[in-house]
């Protein structure tokens, strides 16, 4: 393996395996793209992208006012708003819409759009892709009805023996099934392209997207098994009882890596769209691929950090998953390094000098660049919190407190979702052929989301440290606790108002961008290239099979016995409670 001896400041390739001119394949292929007749893949990228992303953002728009209501209701500051039925209905719906609907549909839409454009290749069967979309949409509606009727107020984690009505589970399962169609499309797309371009490196954006599709296939299996083996048989009356310890173990398999499913599109945008948008080049293409592979392998078999406080798993297994959990720091730090280095390259190419001079020269008025910077800052803050959550003994201080909700709003609602916004701002003119309605408003919106997140989640974390539990509709514990909690509730409420305003601005910009001035020449969909743009990469960074085998082995090692033990533990089963029982 030839190692390039360049340092961060030498942009010249030292080796003919690299191509500085945008990557030849990108160049030659984008020339065929300028003909008057748009190829079929452009049409499908447009409609699959738009439909999926709008369902996602529609769910987001519905869920936001619920978040605002929850902050108000919970705080004891507005006695008139108190209603526990409404509160738990709202939290469950808000959680499901944000965690399952916004994410899954956005990821599918962004995935289709970037896959088809980066490969310049159509989906293998449009009917198949649209079938997946329709199944996911029907599932969403099916789950939404009981949610809104208050018949499924079991939180988005739906832990048994608390039960929702049956359509909730079937709807959720259909949403999963629909998303697997997308996963299959991504894997097939990558394989077709590799066959047509033997030996060539799959474009980075496609490599990341396909890794995420695989990640999701593996990840979604835990909750799927829980629903298939435990919940539906109970709901259909085939069995009368359930083991909640097994259910929690299954769900932990999904619960951790699902957050990487949500976060990966943010990284993908930073690695493959931001470099060009910020006027520079990606610092390293290969290391980005290494990071994607590591995120895939390390993020699934470590779900026990959600079970640290649970009685049904032994300490040794928890310790093992703790080791794995900390391994995720490696690809995360690599990503942080590459993205910061990329930003620095951009700043210097734009004339920035000195240790910090490049920061001022960054394209702060470019939504993608701005969002990347803000997202990285939230990732840094949220990462510190994550280390506490992940730690074997400190977890006891914050498990199920408001610290957790503060943490995941910062890292999910903040770090990930701000990149979803930026992707939309980047993609919309490329989809609609119209000007982004207002770039100024888009920039204000991103800043407001960032500050809103800071103002909301910092006091939220503190409330957790001060002992406030999560998922409570009111705070009846003691006047002393309320006296120390109240000031933080007030600040949080201010933050929630900022976030709500920002969300409204986002939707306004997107809607208006469908009616704005038509562009003479819409921007092309071109992805960033690296300083040393590889035409070929080591086989392991271009293929999927080995990594699936590695995952299988690691999963068997970390979940094999802990699941098998339920066969011989002889746990007395539990009867179900709640809706429809």
């Amino acid at each position: 393996m030839p190692i390039c001896s360049g340092t961060s400041k030498s942009f010249l390739p030292t080796n003919t395996n690299y191509d500085l001119s945008e990557g030849t394949y990108l160049l030659t292929m984008s020339m065929t793209d300028t003909g008057t007749q748009a190829p079929a893949y452009v049409k499908h990228a447009k409609w699959l992208g738009l439909s999926n992303m709008w369902v996602g953002f529609g769910a987001f728009a519905l869920a936001i006012p619920m978040g605002l209501y929850q902050v108000a209701e919970r705080s004891n500051l507005f006695p008139a708003a108190e209603s526990r039925e409404l509160y738990y209905t709202s939290v469950t719906t808000h959680g499901v819409l944000m965690a399952y609907v916004l994410t899954t549909f956005f990821i599918m839409g962004f995935g289709y759009f970037s896959a088809l454009h980066s490969l310049k290749q159509d989906v293998w069967s449009p009917l198949f892709s649209w079938t997946g979309f329709v199944i996911a949409l029907v599932g969403t509606v099916m789950a939404a009805v009981p949610l809104l009727l208050g018949e499924a107020s079991v939180m988005y984690t739906f832990y048994p023996p608390e039960m929702a009505v049956t359509p909730f589970y079937i709807g959720a399962a259909l949403l999963f099934v629909g998303s697997w169609f997308w996963c299959v499309d991504m894997v097939i797309g990558m394989m077709q392209w590799r066959r047509a371009n033997p030996g060539m490196a799959v474009p980075l954006v496609m490599f990341g997207t396909t890794m995420n599709a695989l990640l999701w296939l593996w990840t979604s299996m835990g909750a799927t098994l829980e629903v298939l083996i435990q919940i539906l048989p109970l709901k259909f009356g085939w069995v009368d009882t359930i083991d909640p310890g097994l259910a929690r173990t299954f769900f932990s398999w999904t619960l951790h890596a699902i957050v990487y499913f949500w976060l990966l599109p943010a990284y993908i945008a930073m690695y493959s769209i931001m470099p060009r948008e910020s006027g520079g080049k990606l610092f390293s293409d290969e290391l980005a691929r290494v990071a994607f592979v590591m995120l895939f392998i390390f993020s699934v078999p470590i779900g026990f950090h959600h079970l640290y406080m649970d009685p049904q798993q032994a300490a040794g297994w928890k310790l093992l998953h703790m080791f794995g959990t900390f391994m995720v720091a490696v690809p995360t730090f690599i990503t942080g390094f590459t993205i910061l280095a990329t930003l620095e390259v951009s700043g210097r190419l734009r004339g920035g000098k000195g240790l910090f001079g490049w920061i001022a020269k960054l394209r702060w008025n470019n939504p993608m660049t701005l969002a990347t910077i803000l997202s990285m800052m939230m990732l840094t803050a949220g990462g510190f919190g994550g280390v506490i959550n992940a730690s074997y003994s400190m977890n006891a201080l914050i498990h199920n407190t408001q610290w957790i909700t503060g943490h995941f709003h910062l890292i999910f609602g903040g770090t990930s979702v701000i990149m979803y916004f930026a992707v939309a701002y980047w993609a919309w003119p490329r989809i609609t052929g119209r000007k982004l309605a207002s770039r100024r408003m888009a920039l204000w919106q991103l800043w407001l989301w960032f500050w809103g997140m800071i103002v909301t989640t910092m006091p939220w974390h503190v409330l957790g440290l001060l002992g406030q539990p999560r998922r409570v509709d009111t705070l009846p514990y003691s006047d002393e606790l309320n006296a120390i909690w109240n000031p933080y509730e007030v600040v949080m409420f201010a933050g929630a108002v900022m976030l709500t305003l920002s969300a409204i601005m986002f939707i306004v910009v997107l809607v208006r961008s469908h009616f704005s001035e038509r562009l003479q020449q819409p921007p092309e969909v071109v992805f960033g290239t690296a300083i040393h743009q590889p035409l070929r990469v080591p086989k392991l960074l271009n293929s999927l099979a080995l990594w699936n085998w590695a995952m299988l082995v690691y999963m068997l090692a970390s979940y094999g016995y802990p699941l098998l033990q339920f066969v011989f533990l002889g746990t007395p089963q539990t009867i179900p409670f709640g809706f429809g029982e």
Binding site: Y88, P244, Q312, N400, L466
Partner: protein, 170 residues
């Protein structure tokens, strides 16, 4: 096949590896001192906590819950969590003395947490949760349910009084 890695990147990766190893080291250090999360993997028949005949016996029956000393002199708090309360509803414990909490759920998933301490347990029906810890500050604390268990979830809490060790009587 070409794989390009920058010198700075290599240095960074070594640093990150160092950070991870350090994090592991800290965790092992505390685990070695006995700081384990509750993990006793002990089953019980949650629906029959009141009967001696169920799996796990009648340790959690009405006459057996409360605070006792075991044969080693260790304080043992035996409790039941059921929608929507903890039984016994009030307990008193000495400041600074380790105690063992053993608790089981009678119905659904619950949790128990004493704010500003590290007493934090998930209560999963079918299993006994156990932890040994110490509370070092005097005062009245709620012990509250921190996992959603139904419409009364927020009202599910009991009280712990922490008194000076020399004033403590069982």
């Amino acid at each position: 096949m070409a794989f390009h890695i920058d010198k700075l990147e290599k240095r960074w990766i070594y640093m990150v590896a160092g950070i991870v190893v350090m994090a592991w080291g800290i965790q092992i250090y505390y685990a070695a001192q006995g700081w384990h999360p509750p993990s006793n993997v002990e089953v019980i028949d949650s629906a029959q906590l009141h009967l001696a005949s169920g799996v796990g016996g009648d340790e959690f029956s009405e006459q057996n819950i409360g605070i006792k000393r075991d044969e080693n002199g260790m304080l043992v708090v035996t409790m039941v969590a059921a929608r929507y309360g903890f039984y016994p509803q009030e307990i008193t414990l000495p400041q600074g003395e380790p105690f063992k909490m053993r608790i089981a759920s009678f119905d659904v998933l619950h949790g128990i947490y004493i704010p500003l301490t590290n007493l934090n347990l998930m209560l999963v029906p079918g299993y006994v949760s156990e932890v040994t810890t110490t509370v070092n500050t005097l005062g009245d604390y709620p012990m509250l349910c921190h996992d959603f268990c139904g419409m009364g979830h927020a009202y599910m809490f009991g009280n712990v009084k922490i008194v000076p060790a020399d004033e403590y009587k069982l």
